[in-house]
């Protein structure tokens, strides 16, 4: 079982009012050192796969089909970690 982390954000060419508003709020709270902010989504996927490459490939397919909309968003498969055989404990109640 591989734990795969996927990040989805709006493309650079798309305005992100949530990011801009958050940036202004951070600046107002004294974080003058923050000069830019984008807000996105973070997915944790437990993928049953024999190897890391296949787990990553599957995550990319998932991004293309559901997790990201290529018209407005970009995605990155950021981390793939082996977490043992048969474990899928992500917390929460199924």
């Amino acid at each position: 079982m591989y734990k795969v982390i996927v990040n989805v954000t709006l493309k650079d060419s798309i305005l992100d009012p949530q990011g801009t508003t958050g940036l202004h709020a951070l600046n107002a709270l004294g974080f003058q050192d923050v000069k830019g902010m984008r807000v996105g989504k973070y997915f944790i996927l437990m993928v049953n796969s024999a190897n890391e490459t296949y787990a990553k490939e599957r995550a990319e397919e998932m991004c293309q089909k559901l997790l990201a909309n290529p018209i407005i968003e970009k995605y990155s498969v950021d981390k793939v970690n082996f977490v043992g055989i048969g474990t899928n404990n992500l917390g929460g109640t199924p």
């Binding site: 709006l10 305005l15 009012p17 949530q18 508003t21 989504k41 559901l66 909309n69 018209i71 407005i72």
Partner: protein, 227 residues
């Protein structure tokens, strides 16, 4: 004409659509539950507004995973029969690829619920043929993600193909950012597919088809369908 309203978990304008078609316009209408195996053969399918699947991941995207329903909808469209997606229904049509483009959060980041004015941009469609040229319609909107976006090539396709059905405008039909409630590209409020038998629109004609609801302009769309 026979119609059906396709209902997903989280749809909340399904009864309004059903009522207006059936009771106000006299169009025999039935519901289709999204898991129904037997898709009825009707002339018009409405994808109603609401929050199908809680708007999880992106508004409208989960519905596209319902393979049998999407295949049935695809057949319905390919056979030239009609579909209107209203609000969340429009978002579903975009995510499922029946119409081009995508929805972003409203420019203001706020959920907007108010009456706006639309300018009819084409009367060359089964949904708008009863409208006068550039007729102004007063309809309500109620959405958080109605900021229509498409790239410049797609916009050109829509413009050149006369596929923009409605734009947000002033009461006099003037276009401008001040009359565009959500930031949509080119003030777009509704678009058609290439074959002109699928309409997606953010405003709610079903909430403005009786005088008691302060506007009857939504009737123009139903009357166009009835011919």
């Amino acid at each position: 004409m026979k119609a059906a309203v396709l209902v997903f978990p989280g749809s909340n304008c399904d009864s309004d659509c059903f009522y207006v078609l059936n009771e106000v316009m006299g169009i025999p209408t039935q519901y289709i539950w999204h898991k129904d195996k037997n898709f009825p053969r009707v002339d018009l399918i409405i994808l109603p507004g609401g929050f199908s699947y809680g708007d999880y991941i992106r508004a409208g995207v989960i519905a596209k995973a319902l393979a049998p329903t999407m295949e049935a909808l695809n057949r319905h469209i390919k056979e030239g029969r009609l579909v209107i997606g209203i609000c969340n229904g429009f978002q579903i049509l975009l995510e499922a690829g029946f119409l081009p483009g995508a929805m972003l959060r409203n420019r203001s980041l706020s959920f907007i619920c108010k009456h706006i004015f639309l300018r009819t941009e084409t009367t060359n469609s089964p949904f708008t043929r009863d409208c006068a040229d550039q007729q102004i319609l007063n309809l309500p909107i109620a959405h958080g993600e109605g900021n229509y976006f498409c790239d410049t090539d797609t916009l050109k396709l829509l413009q050149d193909g006369d596929r923009i059905a409605f734009r947000y405008s002033s009461e006099e039909g003037k276009l401008g950012d001040e009359f565009n409630p959500n930031g949509s590209v080119n003030h777009i409020a509704g678009i058609l597919n290439e074959k002109r038998n699928v309409l997606g629109m953010m405003p709610h004609p079903e909430r403005s088809s009786e005088a008691i609801l302060s506007s009857e302009d939504g009737r123009k769309i139903w009357e166009s369908l009835l011919g």
